[in-house]
Symmetry: C2
Subunit: 155 residues, 2 copies
């Protein structure tokens, strides 16, 4: 049973999740399946590229971020998904051996006008490596069930 | 050797790539690794959820889109990556058995002020299923090498 509902997130709430170690093997496996560009797939080719060495696909970074926040809190939430992201920024290469954390910050919270049983919580997720360098950032509205939604009208 | 450079993409250029078949097995495998929410992981739990049946993680949809455009044209490009996405929209559930295509549209093109060897091409990528329903959309600036960059100054 979910433990966290829309009401449980207030603007200004900040939490940090992780760490997760990123390995060369998983970078190459993800790339082979979804993003087979040389800098994600092969150390030799990556060294010759402008990025100077193997780094994860930006979509792999997003997927790793998702797993960190899923384990961190989403799996405890009455989650109803997300309509998308306002912004995704790939700031620095995600490298083999990086140990990353994700900081979740609540930027905004609003009820749904059309669906009284849910609300939106706007999160910013910042991923950092162990030396504190920002690796990526994204902003998204999570849709969450309202705790007091049963039988309630729109607020 | 790359075949396509920054100069080869003009505003208004549109191309379509795919199709790619999405299977229940790959939806569940991606979810188990990156987004283990019930609607992505298990048919039974997904049927009981508000989404009414198994569907791919939004990040899986992004990764599938990446593979379609990689095979479609990115691997032929003098690509220098992307700084992020302006917008990602998950419009409709991506279901097992869906056969998806991606339409690439060039919205804008500009030289880099700081790096004369490259330029930006703003793409909108629209993913559709076989019945023409939009599944997702994203907008991103791809960084591409300029064909005439060798020894040239900023334009």
């Amino acid at each position: 049973m979910p433990r966290l509902y829309w009401e449980d997130f207030s603007v200004g709430h900040v939490a940090e999740y992780g760490p997760r170690l990123v390995t060369a093997d998983e970078i190459k496996a993800f790339a082979a399946e979804f993003d087979p560009q040389p800098m994600h797939l092969d150390e030799e080719a990556a060294r010759a590229s402008m990025i100077g060495g193997l780094c994860a696909s930006g979509w792999h970074a997003c997927a790793i971020m998702m797993r960190i926040i899923a384990d961190g809190f989403i799996l405890d939430c009455a989650s109803m998904g997300a309509p998308g992201c306002e912004e995704v920024k790939w700031i620095a290469p995600l490298r083999p051996g990086d140990r990353v954390n994700v900081r979740a910050s609540v930027l905004d919270r609003r009820a749904s006008k059309s669906r009284p049983e849910m609300g939106f919580v706007k999160f910013r997720f910042d991923m950092f490596n162990a030396s504190g360098t920002p690796v990526m950032r994204l902003t998204t509205d999570l849709m969450l069930k309202r705790r007091q939604s049963v039988g309630a009208g729109a607020p």
